[in-house]
């Protein structure tokens, strides 16, 4: 342990921000995380390969079984089981496979089926656009109001640093529309409609929309035409099963992802605050801008380990199942430095998200600047 840390009182009550730390302590904190990252990355091997291959197998088998059962969807038990299995497969593919593969977490396996450059997920958002809006924009500028477009997704007010506008009065309602159509919201996210004509050319946006159209029509064709058509007289049952599975996946992904950065106690940052940020300060912003969800092993897998949002934001390209292993160590480091480690169960955390959405629908600011 570093001398700077030894000098600190142990188990101090976490405070907002990190300004209670000296520059030296901030660097020591960063060095501890760097060491942790290095340790895990050097240890990657067969165990990790076995894990992701087992997830792949589970996802493919449940998809095939789910779609097959939906062909008998006129029988209620088959419809329910088929829809459940298809939902499970879509959740696994979206969260634990797609999201993590496209972060490059499995590139080291040199398996073409798990390569971030070529993988595209079962989602209406084209992989290459998502990699820009998510991997680059969101993960670099996490919680910087005005830069991280995940703060409000261009349509909502999720930080009181965003100026209020009358349309936000309706966000408690249209928040649920976003939740139901979440994959479409994600698909349109990188087009940045609000920036067209202001720093973004119309031609660029049109090219992106063409990419989304190309991807989305294949998804729509597959789920809403091809598989129902293959069911023949069972068309409606298969269609209903596929619509339901996509809806369940959307609601689940929405709930998990909104709990990542908008729960109570998560901090937002201004562009001025982060100017000239060091790597250690970047770690601090990722930590204080993210929050975790508590649950069992199956719950973590179904969230794609985004329940370990903090660890994911600190180490976005580390194979996600390792987050659960290092979580307690990250928490312990935070405790030593007196830093907030935001965590709670899904119902509790989600309730605070809804509170934020409802409160910020109304004008007014609760505080001036964060972490000053």
């Amino acid at each position: 342990m570093n001398a700077a840390v030894n000098a600190m009182p142990q188990n101090i009550t976490p405070k907002r921000g990190w300004r209670h730390l000296s520059a030296e302590q901030v660097e020591a904190f960063g060095a501890e995380l760097d060491a942790l990252r290095k340790e895990v990355m050097a240890d990657l091997g067969e165990r990790d390969a076995r894990y992701i291959r087992r997830i792949l197998k589970t996802q493919r088998y449940s998809e095939v079984a789910g779609r097959a059962l939906l062909f008998a969807g006129f029988l209620p038990p088959a419809w329910i089981a088929g829809t459940a299995l298809l939902s499970l497969s879509k959740i696994l593919e979206n969260m634990e496979i797609g999201h993590n593969v496209m972060h490059g977490q499995w590139d080291w396996l040199k398996d073409p089926a798990l390569n971030s450059m070529t993988y595209d997920w079962d989602n209406t958002c084209p992989g290459d656009q998502w990699k820009h809006s998510h991997n680059y924009m969101h993960h670099t500028f996490t919680n910087i109001v005005g830069k991280d477009r995940d703060v409000g997704y261009g349509i909502m007010r999720l930080s009181d640093d965003q100026p209020w506008r009358p349309q936000y009065l309706f966000q408690p309602a249209y928040n649920w529309i976003l939740a139901a159509f979440f994959q479409w919201g994600v698909a349109l996210h990188d087009v940045e409609f609000e920036r067209i004509g202001r720093g973004k050319s119309f031609a660029e946006a049109r090219a992106q929309l063409r990419g989304i159209w190309k991807k989305a029509r294949k998804q729509v064709f597959k789920d809403y035409l091809l598989f129902p058509a293959l069911a023949g007289p069972g068309f409606v049952f298969t269609l209903a099963g596929n619509v339901t599975a996509n809806l369940i996946r959307n609601l689940w992904a929405y709930a998990v992802i909104f709990c990542g950065h908008f729960t109570e106690g998560v901090e937002m940052f201004s562009e001025e605050e982060v100017e000239g940020e060091t790597r250690s300060e970047w770690y601090l912003r990722q930590l204080l801008g993210s929050s975790n969800l508590e649950g069992g092993r199956a719950f973590h897998i179904l969230t794609g380990h985004l329940s370990h949002q903090i660890e994911h934001h600190l180490f976005p390209d580390m194979p996600a199942h390792r987050y659960a292993e290092i979580g307690p160590r990250v928490q312990e480091i935070c405790q030593r430095y007196g830093l907030q480690y935001n965590t709670g169960t899904l119902p509790r955390q989600f309730a605070t998200v809804l509170k934020r959405i409802n409160r910020l629908a109304l004008p007014g600011r609760r505080r001036k600047t964060v972490a000053a």
């Binding site: 590139d107 080291w108 390569n115 597959k222 091809l226």
Partner: protein, 358 residues
């Protein structure tokens, strides 16, 4: 299932059903050998040849299109979860059921050491189709086969083909190895030489006492004249380590003869450091050219994982688009400017600013 059967599974409907993944992404989960087009094989059994060499008996799936004696393939194997690819000659005759690949431990060679020590029957391998134009010459003219160490494998495939087809062509097989116990296919070679009049086997060993007709030492022009007086009248075929190949080529050139047909598996690449800055344009990473030998190593140092295979310019797996830059070919030291060209990353180093599309 026959090859055409698998091909039928690859149609617009199944592709739309699997979209955005591929049909193979699903098939593979049920049986790793199932694919609509990829060659994969299962190791049926492993035969120990010498203390540090094994022969893998591989049954490929129905996409395997067969090979001609002397050809090689790119073999992909998973080691601790990571897939590695390397080139190996095929040692079986084309008419044999299945294919065999003989592997000798190779110093620090990760893949060869793994195959010798840890590969097991039942393991699945990713294979390429057979490649290469080092082939058994047509006709029935007399041959001179010269091999060294594990360079014997493509020549063994050719010899087995001669036997299998009942060819009676006059073959002198001149093989260089460290010792008798170290020699791949030693028992089979001796048995063949005893059985067939047309085959003359001469071994040159480095250690131990040579047996009748054999020699000790390294290859030399004098030794060639002594052991194979009519060598100039034979079609020569050569495969072995770089040092042996250099000596043989020099001897033939001095004698005013053309170089033997040859296959080189250990390429001597210069380890001259690169220079200039390399930009990997897709990932936005940048690195100093002199921090690694080849562009492939440099890319890997940057955490990129470009596809790669033999790492010596044979298999072309690492071909990658360079928008512009100045590169050095590590095989001959030649420096050239490239613009919008695909180059093999494993045998090129930066010789100035380079922009690689990775």
């Amino acid at each position: 299932m026959r090859r055409t059967g698998w091909k039928l599974l690859d149609n617009p409907i199944t592709r739309a059903m699997a979209s955005p993944l591929s049909v193979d992404d699903y098939l593979t989960q049920f049986n790793p050998l199932w694919s609509v087009g990829d060659v994969r094989g299962r190791i049926e059994r492993i035969e120990r040849e010498t203390a540090d060499a094994v022969t893998l008996h591989i049954t490929p799936n129905s996409h395997w299109q067969g090979h001609r004696a002397g050809q090689h393939l790119v073999l992909g194997v998973e080691i601790e979860g990571v897939r590695y690819q390397r080139c190996f000659s095929i040692s079986s005759a084309p008419a044999d059921a299945g294919i065999t690949v003989s592997v000798k431990r190779n110093g620090q060679g990760l893949v060869s050491n793994y195959l010798v020590d840890q590969a097991r029957a039942g393991d699945i391998l990713h294979l390429s189709q057979a490649r290469g134009d080092f082939l058994l010459p047509e006709g029935d003219g007399p041959l001179l086969m010269i091999s060294g160490g594990s360079g014997i494998t493509p020549l063994m495939a050719m010899l087995r083909q001669c036997v299998r087809e009942g060819q009676q062509r006059d073959v002198v097989f001149l093989h260089y190895s460290n010792s008798y116990v170290d020699t791949l296919f030693r028992a089979e070679l001796r048995a063949l030489a005893e059985r067939f009049e047309w085959l003359t086997l001469i071994q040159v060993v480095n250690e131990g006492a040579p047996m009748a007709g054999d020699r000790r030492g390294l290859f030399s022009a004098e030794q060639l004249v002594e052991l194979v007086p009519d060598y100039a009248a034979r079609t020569p075929l050569l495969c072995g380590p770089p040092a042996l190949m250099e000596r043989v080529n020099a001897a033939f050139e001095t004698a005013g003869l053309a170089r033997p047909a040859q296959e080189q598996f250990q390429v001597k690449v210069s380890n001259a450091a690169g220079e200039g800055m390399v930009l990997f344009s897709k990932s936005g990473r940048e690195a100093a050219g002199d921090s690694a030998g080849s562009l492939l190593e440099l890319a890997e140092q940057q955490g990129l994982n470009p596809e790669s295979g033999c790492r010596m310019g044979i298999c072309y797996a690492c071909k990658c688009h360079v928008s512009e830059g100045r590169v050095r070919d590590l095989r001959n030291g030649e420096v050239r400017d490239v613009k919008d060209e695909d180059i093999q990353l494993c045998v090129h180093a930066a010789a100035g600013a380079v922009q690689v599309e990775l």
